[in-house]
């Protein structure tokens, strides 16, 4: 029988925190953490003390007061009697509007340019190269200001429409002026009305109406899509069983289009055309120059980056894939859409997310052209009129943080779904 004894345990000494490699890394981390926390505490304390010396306190009560200013572009009801919080909400919606429009257009242009840059046609490829290199190598602020200047200096003036020197396009339905573009708006003569939600909260700051017309149309449209999917599945079953695929395209199109059309007619859908009355065009949707300039500039700029991402994604797919697809007899465009792009998407997605985030954050340059996004309302006029810089900027940072995190979590969820499952 052998007896095993534990080796003698060295008693813990303070110097071991530095000289014993088992503890050293923990010691360093704890010291660094304490230093970091002290640094933060000092910054916060210093800020509060200096604010106190100026006689200012941090409070957000001003958000409940009437704002007193008007905002030209508003997606929800707003008057100068509404609260500062509501002005911020109007600004937030404007930010989201231009961000969403920008992401859609940037993706469309970006994919197109990225694919075209790989074209075998020398001229097309070079033109796309020039596009990418000029767009992405000039600061986006300059593009925004440049586009705005072009729009307000070169588009027809309003008085040209009065004197007849300029005419509306497409049968008096679209007017392009140096104040913006007026396009027809959808109207419903037998409208179902709106449901107002969030009324009465925080001095009526966050209520908005949801159009029942839109919900009805969407419901019917989505229902049509689902039925069309069922028809496709049935066709698949028949094809698997008999080898013949029944022609279903007219059925599938019909179940989407016909019910939607019926709903539109029931609701009394018609277009409201812009008309020149008094100082301005009335009626129709007014897309202000500030919106157009910001939207186009942000889209073109971000599209240049997206194009590079798309090109990289496509080039990362091995040539063998293309050749194999060609050997199967697929045509070039089919190869691209069925074989290369689906695989490239997996590579494209992660960097694409960060481009969407960039575009969204870049919308804060809106103030350069007087677009009333949240930086223009909460971080601009509200901040100025109330003098609450710290509160407004903190709120702004928080809001942008929430928007960005939401976008990236949605995109990451999608990325998780499409990524290659490796076994």
């Amino acid at each position: 029988m052998t007896t095993l004894t534990d080796p003698p345990k060295a008693s813990f000494r303070l110097s071991m925190l530095i000289y014993d490699s088992r503890y050293r890394s923990i010691t360093i981390q704890v010291v660094a953490l304490i230093g970091f926390l002290i640094g933060i505490a000092w910054l916060v304390n210093n800020t509060l003390q200096n604010l106190d010396a100026l006689g200012k306190t941090i409070e957000f009560g001003f958000l409940k007061d009437p704002s007193g200013y008007d905002i030209n572009q508003r997606l929800i009801e707003y008057t100068s009697r509404s609260t500062h919080a509501r002005a911020a909400f109007v600004g937030l919606l404007n930010t989201l509007l231009v961000a969403v429009m920008g992401c859609v257009l940037a993706t469309t242009i970006g994919v197109f340019v990225g694919v075209m840059r790989l074209s075998k046609n020398w001229l097309v490829a070079k033109v796309m190269t020039v596009y990418v290199e000029t767009l992405r190598n000039v600061p986006v602020l300059l593009w925004i200001v440049f586009l705005m200047a072009i729009l307000s200096e070169t588009m027809p003036k309003l008085k040209d429409y009065k004197t007849g020197a300029a005419n509306m396009l497409f049968g008096n339905s679209i007017a392009i002026t140096n104040r913006g573009v007026y396009v027809p708006e959808p109207l419903f003569s037998r409208s179902l009305g709106d449901v107002t939600v969030l009324k009465g909260i925080y001095n009526d700051s966050f209520y908005f109406g949801v159009s029942l017309d839109l919900i009805a149309i969407l419901a019917v449209f989505i229902g049509g899509l689902l039925i069309s999917k069922l028809i496709k599945r049935r066709a698949d079953v028949i094809q698997a069983a008999t080898g013949d695929r029944p022609a279903t395209w007219y059925l599938r199109l019909g179940v989407i289009v016909v019910p939607t059309l019926i709903v539109l007619i029931l609701l009394g859908f018609h277009l409201g055309f812009p008309e020149l009355k008094g100082f301005n065009f009335r009626g129709g949707i007014h897309m202000r120059n500030s919106l157009v300039a910001l939207w186009i500039a942000l889209s073109l700029y971000t599209a240049a980056f997206i194009a590079e991402i798309v090109r990289a994604g496509i080039m990362a797919i091995s040539k063998g894939q293309t050749e194999a697809a060609a050997a199967l007899g697929l045509r070039a465009n089919k190869i691209m859409s069925l074989v290369v792009l689906p695989q490239a998407l997996r590579i494209i997605f992660p960097p694409l997310i960060s481009q969407y985030l960039n575009l969204t954050k870049n919308t804060s340059l809106a103030i350069a052209v007087g677009y009333m996004d949240i930086t223009g309302t909460l971080g601009g006029i509200t901040m100025n009129q109330t003098g609450r810089e710290l509160e407004c900027v903190l709120l702004l940072m928080l809001i942008y943080l929430v928007i960005s995190l939401s976008i990236s979590s949605v995109m990451n969820w999608y990325n998780e779904r499409v990524k290659l499952t490796e076994r």
Binding site: I34, N46, T79, S80, N178, F279, N384, T386, G387
Partner: protein, 338 residues
Amino acid sequence: MKKSVFFGALTVASLAAGAVAAGTMDDVKARGKLNCGVSTGLVGFAAPDANGTWNGFDVGVCRAVAAAVLGDPTAIEFVPTTGKTRFTALASGEVDMLARNTTWTFTRDVDLKFEFVGVNYYDGQGFMAPKSLGVTSAKDLDGATVCIQTGTTTELNLADFFRSNNMSYEPVPIETNAEAQQQYLSGACDVLTTDASGLAATRASFENPKDHVILPEIISKEPLGPLVRHGDNQWGDLVRWTLNALISAEELGITSANIDELAKGTNNPEINRILGTEGDLGAMLGLDKQWAYRAIKAGGNYGELFEKNIGENTPIGLARGLNAQWKDGGLIYSPPFR
């Protein structure tokens, strides 16, 4: 152990440093330069000329203060500020005073913790429109597109005016006066609104000033004046009484031409007190006897500054109106020097 003591000491030291605030006058004297916040360029009020020298009515106030404190009207660092940045610049100490057509309002005085030291121009908000638009009154502007400088009281007045008259309008917010001009001239807005003096100054810089009218309605009271931070009364007093010295000088007939003559002594005790030949008002401000003499000499009295920069003989062509001395039926009035 030693590290945490060090951090603790650092924290205490830096907290103590953060709380100290020196007197503005001492700061200015130590620096040898006055930091004066002005507008980014409004002809007649504050704009740099071809040589980069700032000139104008508001600039005149800065020069008078610099002359009074430092004895040199050119020892100034002009800091151009927009409607948005001006208050932050003043509150943070980037500038010692603002002389930038800023309206004296309750919230700015009380809530933003500033001290308006007086009024150097009584103004009101007006509208400018091209003659070809055929508008004769602001009441005809229903539905018009209006260019406004954002971050100013004009934004709020405009909302109130249209609201109380039951009219609609489309505001186009703009950051600086130069952009406002460009947007207005390109026809992106129908009318331009700001203080009437600002409109006159802007119109003067147009190629064809005659093609534009300033509508008769004045929709607000805009008392414009220099301001300083709350809580430094010595500095506030100095700027206030420098402005008053300019105003009193006009009332008493002290001009930059005759000031040397008058400074030898006169029969009027108030003139003597201002110019330092009798009593010692300067010592009470923490300055020498000659402070007001230098301030007036720098650019002339209030009336001279007005005539030289924005008066009827300049392209801007503003009449004295409300800004005449109280004896002539205006509102310009200085408390007595005694």
